[in-house]
């Protein structure tokens, strides 16, 4: 049967896709939590992370093919480089594209236009500066089958994605749940005005929220670029899917974004088992619409900022 013969293979590749969606989706959900704004330029935060890790790894690795512990080191370096690049662009975005509008109490629509404008500006700039062809991130490891689970081949690349993503997702969950920054984020999300009366510096919290989302998005850009290469249009579809995942899980809800990402990845992959690759998006978005008809606020519901 079409469904059963590839089941575990498709679940494994679905989980790998899902972890990437989850990392990107968190950027949308965190910003939505504090600003009730969809940061449509997040796709370019993702792309910036990809390019940052490309330049750093190319400089650091040269033409070497690392093994063992060196591979791990270069993966960590790539994640850090991607995260830093993403964080920097997210920070600047908030400063240049959103904060001036917020100061002037601009209507919501203005934020949306500003976001789309920033997105177009950034990806066209990247296309102009870095060329129209995909650039290959030098691979820190040799990809290949590592082990099989229920007959499904697990590649090195999938393991790298899963470990990096799980570490980052747990860290973010903890940061929002227990740190002072996390308290600030949750306070602003619940009621910005009251939070500011209580002494929370709203501007700083919003800025830091963008940075946290940027780190995750940028690191995802690195993990994605490892296999597909980095190019100016790389952010478009993955970010759209991640946004979908965030809505599916319940926008503003951190664990919802992770759940939505993993679910979307698996559903997309299993969906094509009995059909063709060209049906992939039809199936994925069909299911999204069905879920939202039954639960309009997403699977876990909109619980702005109240993550833990």
């Amino acid at each position: 049967m079409c469904f059963t013969s590839n089941f575990w293979n498709l679940v494994v590749s679905g989980l790998a896709d899902g972890f990437l969606y989850a990392l990107i989706a968190l950027g949308y959900t965190l910003v939505y939590g504090v600003l009730q704004l969809i940061n449509f330029a997040h796709s370019e935060v993702f792309m910036s992370g990809g390019f940052a890790s490309y330049f750093v790894l190319r400089a650091a690795m040269g033409s070497s093919t690392p093994h063992g512990i060196a591979s791990v080191g270069f993966v960590v370096l790539g994640v850090l480089a991607g995260g830093t690049g993403g964080a920097l662009v997210a920070f600047l975005l908030e400063r240049i594209a959103y904060r001036p509008l917020r100061r002037r109490h601009a209507p919501r629509l203005a934020f949306l236009i500003s976001a789309i404008g920033a997105s177009y500006f950034l990806y066209n700039l990247a296309g102009k500066e870095f060329g129209r062809n995909a650039l290959e991130i030098p691979s820190p490891f040799t990809n290949g089958p590592v082990f099989t689970i229920f007959g499904a081949v697990v590649q090195t690349y999938y393991i790298v994605i899963a470990i990096s993503a799980v570490v980052m997702l747990v860290l973010v969950d903890r940061v929002v749940a227990v740190t002072k920054l996390g308290k600030g984020i949750r306070a602003v999300a619940q009621d910005a005005e009251t939070a500011s009366l209580m002494g929370v510096n709203i501007d700083r919290v919003i800025s830091q929220t963008f940075v946290v989302g940027g780190i995750l998005g940028g690191a995802a850009g690195f993990l994605f670029g490892l296999s597909a290469g980095v190019v100016f249009t790389m952010g478009f579809t993955p970010a759209l899917k991640a946004f979908t995942a965030a809505v599916l899980g319940g926008i503003g809800n951190i664990r919802g974004a992770v759940l939505g990402g993993l679910l979307l990845g698996i559903v997309e992959n299993l969906g094509v088992a009995c059909t063709q690759a060209s049906w992939r998006d039809v199936i994925a978005f069909g299911i999204l619409v069905l879920v939202l008809m039954i639960r309009p606020t997403g699977i876990l519901g909109e619980r702005l900022g109240r993550s833990a």
Binding site: G14, Y157, F224, F236, T237, P238, E268, A277, R280
Partner: protein, 402 residues
């Protein structure tokens, strides 16, 4: 409007040509005979994302015209030639305007181009109405030859030649009993893959076909890079010894990587859309190794004529010959040799069209001779292979399977 041109075009061209020769007489009064001047135009993308393809051809045409004027290729000619480039951006919307500009320039007797199939399809009705010969070095859409345009010629085989040739190679040379075919949903790839599937089936191979839309990552469609993981799993399940991809190098590189990561060890094949060094650099040398790519075009060899063209091109253009440079050179020289055959009488556009239908010219890439629908006679498809990170020509399919 088109009718007006049809009726007036030829006499007006003759008048203008007559005037040109009078002017020539005035300035070179000392010379015994005055020579008429004919303009050969080039139409293709000279700006935008695909401009390199256009430039590859433009300089080749310019070189042919320069050489003919200096007498180095055809000896002494009874006319002088001029060259004019026209930019259509490779786009079907811009192309008719560009074409009209060339039609209105009465000294233009023939056009090398248009370069792209879409642009050709859009401009050809106007060219046909003006009886202006167009010889494309690169427009491969099969439909172009079916429209009844008398003035349409091309020096490259159409896509109907490539798909069956690839299928023959896969079944008879690689001995594949099962072949997995994938197309990127572009009109080029859909046509190519259906021709491939039909031929391979008739040769006894079992075909499994799937469509995977080109990705946004590659600016080639609406697809998502992640589609290739699941697709590779499905291909791997079939254990087909050959996978044929119809599409362009960027997406093919992503698909090839996914296939190898999924543990697929079969032979990879693709078409002229993937015949680009970027395929090797984006897929990686080890993934791309042994991939077979096809094209109805051939590398220049080591003959003295080939070398003279390469060095002359580089001197004029400032960069080495590229895809379809040699085809454009052959197209221009076919036109020039036909003009020469028509002699020193004043040559009309329509007369040139008629003469081109009978033309035989030994070009660099092939013996140029046109069928009545404008297609090139005898369409040879060549296979290439990635070896040690370089794309190497294996030879014509007919010889490889023979």
């Amino acid at each position: 409007m088109h009718l007006g041109i049809k009726r007036l075009g030829v006499p007006m061209a003759a008048t203008v040509l007559g005037l040109t020769s009078l002017a020539g007489m005035a300035t070179t009064a000392a010379q015994a005979s005055s020579k008429p001047t004919y303009t050969i135009a080039y139409e293709g993308p000279l700006s935008g994302g695909n401009q390199q393809l256009g430039l590859n051809m433009k300089y080749a045409v310019q070189l042919a015209v320069n050489q003919a004027n200096s007498g180095s290729t055809f000896g002494s000619l009874p006319f002088k030639l001029k060259f004019t480039p026209a930019d259509d951006g490779g786009s079907a919307t811009q192309s008719p305007t560009t074409a009209q500009g060339l039609i209105d320039n009465k000294s233009v007797v023939a056009v090398v181009g248009p370069a792209f199939s879409g642009a050709t399809k859009a401009a050809e009705p106007s060219f046909a109405a003006a009886h202006l010969a167009t010889v494309s070095p690169s427009a491969t859409a099969p439909i172009l030859a079916d429209e009844g345009w008398k003035n349409f010629f091309r020096v490259v085989a159409d896509d109907n030649a490539q798909g069956p040739a690839d299928a023959t190679y896969a079944v008879q040379k690689l001995k594949a009993k099962g072949i997995y075919t994938v197309d990127d949903a572009s009109s080029y790839a859909v046509g190519l893959v259906s021709a491939f599937d039909a031929k391979a089936t008739s040769l006894g191979a079992k075909i499994t076909h799937q469509q995977a839309p080109g990705t946004t990552q590659c600016q080639a469609g609406t697809g998502n890079v992640q589609e290739y993981g699941a697709l590779a799993t499905q291909v791997q399940q079939t254990h087909d010894p050959v996978t044929f991809y119809a599409g362009y190098y960027c997406d093919f590189a992503l698909f090839a990587k996914a296939l190898r990561a999924a543990g697929y060890t079969g032979q990879l094949m693709s078409d002229d859309g993937s015949l680009d060094p970027h395929y090797v650099s984006q897929a990686g040398t080890s993934v791309a190794a042994k991939t077979v790519l096809s094209c109805a075009c051939t590398n220049l060899g080591n003959s003295s004529a080939d070398k003279a063209f390469s060095s002359g091109f580089k001197k004029l253009a400032g960069f080495p010959v590229g895809t379809y440079s040699a085809e454009a050179y052959d197209a221009a020289n076919t036109i020039i040799s036909t003009l020469k055959k028509l002699g020193n009488k004043s040559i009309s556009r329509a007369a040139l069209v008629t003469a081109l239908h009978k033309a035989v010219y030994p070009g660099l890439t092939k013996r140029v001779h046109f069928l009545s629908n404008g297609n090139i006679a005898g369409s040879t498809v060549y296979e290439y292979q990635v070896q040690n990170g370089k794309i190497v020509e294996l030879g014509p399919v007919t010889q490889l399977v023979g």
